[in-house]
Symmetry: D2
Subunit: 258 residues, 4 copies
């Protein structure tokens, strides 16, 4: 079979009989045993090893999001493992499939708003007020605010901002998020916390990370947490309790049994 060459290329990895090279670096001589997982994540996803700010913030963000107890994603993973213990990877995959627009999507949804506020000729305060007014009119929530379990504030956000300040990252995007928070509070007439995904969105913008791959770091974080929960499920299973609790929680309201 003769095939015309495609134009598709990759720049990530090549290998021959005795060597594997990742981003131009010899895996076995210069990376295994010599690079941290954080730096390797950056090398693979961003294409280069991180500078100090990237290293600290990306590490802190992954630590902040890896674990938050019995989330819907964790429950899906544990319920799946109960039915298919032959496939640990299937249970992790089931958990990751819930890492979408609704909860962590904030990371992606907040970024364009912060960019709008930073670029506006109106200045941050008026630009933020416009954003809030626009959402109010459309009867939608401004993404990135509120957290069902933490009051008055999501404790992860100040911890993340502190990491940023420590490495000199405290710029216009973080200011924009802060100003936006004030306008959100004013319009709601109560305090709504800046949640962790919003804080991470601002910090990632400061680092210059592309919005389109921000969710990728969240997926890595959640993958770690899910493996932790499945390790516990192997020795102390909660799947059956989740099943029974769920089945009881949803009442049947359809046509009666004839």
């Amino acid at each position: 079979m003769v095939m015309t060459r495609s134009d598709a290329t990759t720049e990530i990895c090549t290998y021959d009989a005795t060597r594997i090279c990742v981003r131009g670096i010899n895996l076995c001589e210069e990376l295994i045993g010599k690079i941290s997982i954080t730096d390797y994540i950056c090398l693979l996803v961003l294409g280069t090893q991180p500078n100090d700010a990237q290293r600290s913030i990306i590490e802190a963000a992954i630590v902040a999001l890896a674990e938050h107890g019995m989330t819907p994603s964790v429950m899906a993973a544990r319920l799946t493992y109960m039915g298919a213990p032959e496939s640990l990877q299937g249970a992790v995959a089931a958990g990751l499939l819930g890492v979408g627009d609704q909860f962590v999507g904030t990371v992606e949804l907040v970024a364009p708003i912060l960019t709008e506020i930073c670029c506006s000729p109106l200045g941050p305060k008026d630009a933020a007020a416009n954003v809030v007014a626009r959402h109010r009119e459309a009867k939608t929530l401004v993404p990135g605010f509120g957290q069902p379990h933490h009051k008055p504030d999501d404790p992860r956000s100040p911890a993340l901002f502190a990491v940023g300040r420590k490495v000199g990252v405290d710029g216009a995007y973080i200011n924009a998020l802060s100003v936006l928070g004030e306008e959100v509070d004013r319009a709601a007439n109560r305090h709504l916390t800046i949640n962790a995904p919003a804080a991470i969105s601002a910090l990632f913008l400061e680092l210059g990370l592309p919005v389109r791959i921000m969710r990728g770091f969240v997926i890595i974080a959640r993958c770690i947490g899910l493996v932790g929960h499945l390790a516990e499920e192997q020795v102390n299973p909660a799947g059956r309790a989740l099943w029974e609790a769920g089945a009881h929680a949803v009442a049947f309201a359809g046509k009666p049994v004839p």
Copy 2:
């Protein structure tokens, strides 16, 4: 780029600019609008259109397994959809990932046991008694018996056997399952129902279906049920209730907060 031809082949589908052929049949002229879904499943999975017995039993098996309320698989799908409503396919996939060894795996696990009983020179009764004794010694359950929600009997099993008898399928494998059930009951000193996956395993063996693909029919059945549940979740969501119930059901028993 010149590639040597691989030896890999497919016999399922080919097409050109104006035609699509599936298993040698013109899709647009002879299948669309002319073949039932049951027959098309058989054409695709088994390679040929079904005979009457295959049609009736495969259809009945898929109907029997498609839906059984708030199963772990359904919960995983609904919890996933709550987090990622942008991906209906992700929620279905999460639900299917739980269709594994633990619950429906019975379809695959019962089949070799029934084959053993049918082939044994000891005759069904003694062969079944040996199977039960072997599991007793290994302190494992004989697969295919018992069902947590139905007593004394899984109502799907007799309904499935009735479909089989109607199309003349009532042979040695079904007899083997029945004899095995008697031996299971005798050893347990109480009645354990032949569950639906076990009944389907026996019926599929009668049809000559390969054991390795039996789970495939179950996956199709569950896919249909999952789409039904997600259609309901779109207009009457239960995801949050499942989350809250699950989070309450699993108590924290770790190191206290410092």
Copy 3:
């Protein structure tokens, strides 16, 4: 543990020790062996058994989309099965995860455009011209037109429309799609086929199906096709050939090995 009752409900299925009821119908007495898979799909997803038009069109649509050879979705499933043969469900899930916005998404994306054309006071021709002009300005393609393997026309679309006409379904949405096609061709100065997902979108609108669940029927269709391919992969594997061909097709263009 005392839990307050949630408000979540389901109307799909309830059961007790001896009965299972789906949408108010006794599964074991009235459905197993008595209902076709097509009708059961409608009962589960739409909530009621189909009328003749729904039955014919939904069945034809599922048959039309179940199988189209070595699609990306099929390749993902076969490559996954090669790595994890312990989990047939994982391979099906991997294949379904590609059933998204890009290819079959047309089913969902065409529907609002057809609705716009049908509702416009300008009449279909001018409304369609406006749609085409708007996409031209935005430099995006009008969804639902073109198919890489079929020229001049996707043969599935006329076959699907013929099924519709046979059951009296040939209304305003189908007319709108036809008018839109003429405007697309005029603007492109060449013929672009109405593809199968677009035809199905129009037919599903005629049936009154909600746009949000249209993808669900596609997922069921693809699930059937994927099980067919995995049944073939079990006895005549292509996974390794797909791997080698893919690895050769993507040239390394990164930093040279040091």
Copy 4:
């Protein structure tokens, strides 16, 4: 609704309005910005922070397995992303679903063999010879040997063993793997490399990691690599080239078009 308390518990994470505690440690005060990803992986999966040997070896193992070019798992992820770009998590999940018994399963399959060799009263050499003889008789391959792309040796294995020696990990399991390799070579009458998953299996046994969760570390590693590939796919897509190459590689060998 009154529910009886389930016995299910978790020891991973608890939180209140202002604090999140993971394994008894305050997430926001003591972990974010203060713990490395490697240590956090150990805290979550193993329950405690790692000792020096665990830290070095687990980090090296994850780095060794995260990336190896255009693997089947990467192809599945890229093909999925082409069809469903709305769901990055779906593409990662599709890739992870191939992390199963066939390739990385070696990590789990080698471990019991090494344990057998270490525990045998025959001594390592005779025990290893027995293992090889048993596989020869069963006409199966001894897991953990051979690698299609690297000759004479998988370069990752010596790099991993060197990391182990540096932290004083060079015990009975690694010796057992080395002795087993000699017996495998003797029986095959040629050299078969100890592959990276086998090396990792031996090192993980030395650390006392449970066999059942070894695959979890591989899943985390592959998740990182997959996000890297999808970040590249976003800006330099290879999906269509993979599709075309795959479609060409698998010849149609079925019934001719009528």
